[in-house]
Amino acid sequence: MRHLLSTADLDVTTAVRILDTAAQMAATQSREIKKLPTLRGRTVVNLFFEDSTRTRISFETAAKRLSADVINFSAKGSSVSKGESLKDTALTLQAMGADAVVIRHQASGAPHTLAASGWVDSSVINAGDGTHQHPTQALLDAYTMRRHLAGDAVGVGDVGRDLSGLRVVIVGDVLHSRVARSNVLLLRTLGADVTLVAPPTLVPVGVEAWPCRVSYDLDPVLRDQQPDAVMMLRVQRERMTGGGSGGGAFFPNPVEYTRGYGLDRRRLALLPDHAIVMHPGPMNRGLEISADAADSPRAVIVEQVTNGVAVRMAVLYLLLAGDLAEQKNVEERVVVA
């Protein structure tokens, strides 16, 4: 593995390997001294073209816990706001000797462009691109589900479990959600059964090709499927253009959205006892999730943040700790042959 661009690139072995590594990383994070010397002398650049606090500080924390040097580069107040292109930014980072670039960009495919362009030698980690992918979020969601619902089952030399047999329901603004896209692919790879629930206006065109089921009605899905995990998506009002009171042209008004697709106390009671409630954050309390649900003992939303650091440490470790030159040589040999 040289880059992490999309959960579509992960096979089940690689995905489980990341989750297993994350479990060991998480174990180190309960120690008094959380810092490990593993990536000493390596440089990780956080290249954020889009506002993000939690993902950036999560990556920053992960890199620092592994002793890597971290450079934060955000579009606001930088050369990008002066009109610099992605290519020139990338060449600048290359000249500074970045070993990994964590990129978030409002354009879908920007991380792929960066990885495939040859502008940088470093590993590229997608931290969210447009409405396309957010692979580390999906990995931390899968890790959280495995911890609560499948058991880690990591012994000496053992390989941890996948998520086969788990039923996951993802609810809300699927159309704008890279979290949903990443999760559908990864959860399917890991063997889970995914159902998307959204108003018809927030279901993307072409969803029938995704490896999941789609429903427009939340209550019957919760009642009949008895899911093991419910993931509420944020209503991304900043991506909704057009009129209407708060929901663009996608739903009539927030109250109606909440009535149809919000997770409240009544819907919480429909779930089986072991079910967990997830949210990638930041939450719109009162819109897609009520305070009752967000603060209930089943909500693992805060734990998702903690797990995010462990998963990102695992990804950085697997991409950076090994001998990249060796891997590159192999790739070049393959290309020549």
Binding site: T21, R31, L36, G157, A321, G322
Partner: protein
């Protein structure tokens, strides 16, 4: 480093059999107790992969000599992968498990347990890992086989067998828990040492 099945290689010589390994471990157990005047405040930390079952076997022997000891907290595991100095020379290694007594290792005597002592680099990494985990009163080292060729000023306190080897040879330790049988083999490799990761055998992690 997944333990593969024991493939018999033509030029391999068995230097320690099952009974030899058992005797060596019994002797080491007695030496540990003698040196530390009993087993109180003692914890045996095995270095994955094959150090861990060895640490547990030693702990079983300590308890059989001194039944008052708490077997649960006597043996653990210490993964040193993230402290290694050769991470960048190999593809990313899987990380093993670290298991410490619930009360930590502060003010205890830690006995590191590994299968083969070679360059000493694994032990150097283990010492760094320990200093991040706490402050033991003392750290000692037990190795089933000491094959020489140290690259660091490190020596073992307890050695099962000193095995003079050439650097062209490989030492393989097979354990019942991971390989189905107990044996220590020396393999003289006819071929030149290969660059890169090489075959994954649970020994010679310190090899250059």
């Amino acid at each position: 480093m997944s333990p593969g099945p024991a493939v018999p290689v033509p030029q391999s010589t068995v230097v320690l059999g099952e009974a030899d390994i058992a005797r060596a471990l019994t002797r080491i157990a007695h030496e540990v107790l003698e040196r530390n005047k009993g087993g109180a405040d003692l914890v045996l930390l095995g270095i994955p992969t094959r150090g861990v079952p060895l640490a547990h076997r030693l702990a079983d022997r300590l308890v059989s000599v001194e039944p008052g000891l708490d077997r649960e907290s006597l043996a653990g595991a210490l993964d040193v992968t993230m402290y290694r100095d050769d991470l960048r020379r190999h593809p990313a290694r899987p990380i093993g498990q670290t298991q410490l007594p619930a009360s930590g290792i502060d003010d205890l005597v830690v006995v590191l347990v590994d299968d083969v002592l070679y360059s000493g680099r694994t032990i150097r990494a283990a010492l760094d890992a320990i200093s991040d985990l706490g402050r033991p009163r003392a750290v000692q080292l037990a190795a089933l086989v000491d094959r020489g060729h140290r690259e660091l000023p490190i020596r073992a306190d307890y050695v099962g067998k000193n095995l003079p080897t050439s650097q062209a040879e490989r030492v393989r330790v097979l354990l019942r828990e991971s390989d189905g049988e107990d044996a220590v083999l020396i393999e003289s490799s006819a071929e030149a040492p290969r660059p890169g990761p090489g075959p994954a055998v649970g020994t010679e992690r310190g090899a250059r």
